[in-house]
């Protein structure tokens, strides 16, 4: 294949960087297939071929933003919905995303620390000394070391489930937002 066309393909590959590697490889492979066909069957020159397919950056952008690139004509309504979308996601993005993701991580950490703490308390009591700063307490009720250990496993599990639930919430939020963005 003509060196110019190889360079053309390299440029497209470069501009497709935001995409996962497997998709990038497939896209370039498909374009390369057409380039070869135009070169070998239609006998077009490299310049004619690059002219036909257009600027490699524009071609890559067309892949990256398939739905947004369809809006070639300007509509006030479209502008309105784009502004609404980015305002909503901007505000929610400033609060919802950071809060949920922080909580998810925090809950996961609690889920790990809780049974560890319970184990330390139990191990301490079995070895004969009281680990005073670790306790399982709800209101006036303080659990014995053995009860505390089992309860700590329960709370650890609850925190773990909560973190998984929050994670799913975060993912479905992101998916919904992306889906809405695609329909703009």
């Amino acid at each position: 294949m003509n060196k110019k066309l190889e360079d053309y393909l390299d440029k497209i590959d470069h501009y497709l960087k935001p995409m996962p590697a497997s998709e990038r490889i497939d896209i370039v492979k498909e374009i390369k297939s057409e380039l070869s066909e135009l070169e070998l069957q239609n006998n077009l020159t490299a310049e004619e071929i690059m002219d036909k397919l257009g600027n490699p950056k524009e071609l890559a952008k067309a892949y990256l933003s398939d739905s947004l690139s369809k809006a070639h004509t300007f509509h006030w309504r479209h502008l309105g919905s784009v502004i609404a979308f980015y305002s909503l996601t901007g505000i929610s993005g400033m609060f919802i995303l950071p809060v949920i993701s922080t909580l998810t991580i925090a809950f996961l950490i609690f889920a790990i620390i809780s049974p560890i703490a319970g184990f330390i308390k139990l191990a301490g009591s079995l070895l004969g000394f009281d680990v005073a700063y670790i306790m399982f307490q709800i209101g006036a009720y303080t659990a014995s070391p053995i009860a505390a250990f089992f309860l700590s496993i329960v709370t650890g599990l609850l925190f773990f489930l909560a973190s998984q639930g929050l994670w799913k919430l975060l993912m479905s939020y992101i998916r919904t937002v992306s889906h809405i963005k695609q329909t703009l």
Partner: protein, 112 residues
């Protein structure tokens, strides 16, 4: 809005329908589709439109694809075929298209 804007709106609305109908009739690869579409100026579209559209239809599972070796010493080609989900989608589009034609036809008759 002038006639060129309107034409590109029409194209944007119907290209997906045209391409799915084409592929439903016969499995095709990208460049073949572009060539076929170029027969009709109102539907003619460039690589930067057709390939991303095919990719989207693939992601939405209306199409499936496979690479096929060619015999003429050319590199392999990515062929597209329509899925069951795609066939249902196409059937729905066909129905809406007929509704549209019916509506326009009645409106125009009313004008006569």
């Amino acid at each position: 809005m002038d006639i060129e804007d309107w034409k590109s709106q029409i194209k944007r609305g119907t290209l997906e329908f045209g391409i799915l109908s084409m592929i439903a009739g016969q499995e095709r690869y990208g460049y073949e589709i572009i060539l076929e579409l170029s027969k009709w100026p109102i539907l003619a579209a460039k690589e930067s439109t057709v390939y991303p559209l095919l990719r989207r239809l693939l992601k939405e599972e209306y199409l499936s694809s496979y690479w096929m070796e060619t015999t003429e010493g050319l590199p392999p080609r990515k062929y597209y075929s329509i899925t069951d989900k795609g066939k249902h989608y196409l059937a729905a589009m066909n129905m809406e298209w007929n509704n549209l034609l019916q509506a326009i036809s009645e409106i125009r008759e009313g004008e006569a």
